[in-house]
Symmetry: C2
Subunit: 300 residues, 2 copies
């Protein structure tokens, strides 16, 4: 096992920054600040992909520099980059490197999942080549489809967050189906995550195999905290999706750690609710979220 | 609903080509023909990504041109392109366009799945921007995470193949769990696929919402054929993963249609078993597979 474990770096960052906040990089051209849109020519009907990429670069770089003191890391949602084609994919790689350069924990939110040989290619793409610290993965294929990611957890100090209970309304359709054992599908996945993480427990007592647990289902989240006592949580659904800090108290452990919470739109587009500059507005929103979560975790 | 339905184009191609074969584009630098490796400088230790991309381009273009008469389409496994970074991603887009230019049905094997807003970005990336005819998707998020793909099925004549039962050994861990209803998880997903497809049945009687059903589980595949009578199957696992034509007979309907079968390594690297040129060897292997499947489907 690598000496430098992902989970220990993640939990150290929480203590150092006094923050559980991860900022989600989900760029949306239509929501970008008007000053930037004008500067990069996006207000004209025929703006090309290169202009959008240039605008995203300036915006996301500015956001990361501004919010860095308030957040432990970034969650880069690759879909919004893929939507721009290969130049968007290149920007994803650039932003991954830029976040790491700022000392942020970089979670590539790629939600990949496939058979073993293909998963090896995905792990190479995102953990080796793009250089993310951790990736999100989908459990549908089972252990052999995740093993290439786990190998990098063991050998290269990388991290994995497995989808357990997602934040969207339809998540119940498959994830909440009840098994003949009495457990739900997502609880069975949680038990697998426990098992997968056993071999990669860090000095913190937590595992480098984490779980995605949506913040929009507080009761289920609380039960999962008990069910997976050594598994770090990546919690989406804060802010624009509806979860509030008070809903998330039970996702932290008794020491007020063990989870990081992602917010994308509420931070990125905070300028819409204020007269402040977009970077200033984003930092203020991140700071406010940091305080609210720190209190919810029982730290303040 | 679009006048030109994906599933009707797919089933017409089966009849026109008298083939159920889809060739998988899963490029692997180490397995490429030695003549190409030498030509592109891959035998030197310090070959860069551009050299690998150039080699893949020549190889995959040659494969597609050579096997085109024997196959209905291509399944492009994006992971192998992502593994090369942004220039690999650009090649994925190039190969998608090249396959369409040859008149092949293009299935982007991306296995994406996420919340609705993110799924919209993925659908834009692969169905709009890259221009694939169909994509593979993961069902873990439920209906709202698939709706952006379904909208393009309805409005733009696109297709979707939902993972139901995958071909890998660990697929049983989650997919075969038994629910309190008596059905397995993958059977419950199959029932959802039936429901999702109801609104997009084409003239062929089949739906443009298809299912991925691994060829490595013949009994389960046969039962799924009965359970999903109007759902076209994309069947991986042929050849290198172990499935043979005789195992797949029950995946076709009584008219010998309703399924396409993917083979990647066995076709791409057929040169290893013969003295023939790699493109010739690939075509011969595809032709052999075409005949074997045509017979298995009860057509010959």
């Amino acid at each position: 096992v690598a000496e430098d474990m992902f989970v220990d770096r993640l939990l150290s960052a929480i203590e150092k920054k006094r923050s559980h906040v991860v900022v989600g990089l989900d760029p949306d051209a239509a929501a970008l600040p008007p000053t930037l849109r004008v500067k990069h020519g996006l207000e004209q009907g025929d703006a090309d992909v290169a202009a959008v990429v240039g605008c995203y670069r300036e915006f996301l770089s500015g956001i990361m520099e501004s919010v860095e003191p308030e957040v432990v890391g970034v969650k880069i949602q690759i879909a919004y980059f893929e939507a721009l084609g290969n130049s968007g994919y290149r920007l994803y790689e650039e932003m991954t490197a830029a976040a790491a350069h700022l000392g942020l924990v970089v979670i590539a939110d790629v939600k990949r999942g496939d058979i073993g040989s293909t998963a090896e290619a995905y792990a190479r793409a995102h953990l080796d080549h793009a250089g993310a610290d951790a990736v999100t993965v989908n459990p549908y294929f089972g252990t052999d489809g995740l093993e290439p990611f786990f190998r990098r957890v063991r050998d290269a100090g990388k991290g994995v967050f497995v989808l357990v209970k997602t934040s969207n309304p339809s998540s119940s359709e498959l994830q909440d189906l009840r098994l003949e054992t009495g457990a739900t599908v997502y609880e069975a996945v949680a038990d697998s995550v426990n098992a997968w993480g056993k071999a990669v427990i860090g000095e913190s007592g937590y595992s480098s195999v984490g779980a995605v647990v949506g913040g929009t289902h507080p009761d289920q989240g609380a039960a999962l905290r008990t069910r997976m006592p050594t598994v770090p949580f990546l919690v989406p659904g804060y802010g624009a999706q509806g979860a509030q800090a008070c809903d998330l108290a039970a996702l932290f452990d008794s020491s007020g750690t063990g989870a990081v919470v992602n917010s994308a739109r509420a931070i990125l587009y905070a300028y819409k609710k204020t007269d402040a500059d977009w970077a200033v507005a984003a930092r203020a929103e991140a700071a406010q979220m940091r305080s609210a979560l720190w209190a919810a975790a029982g730290r303040a």
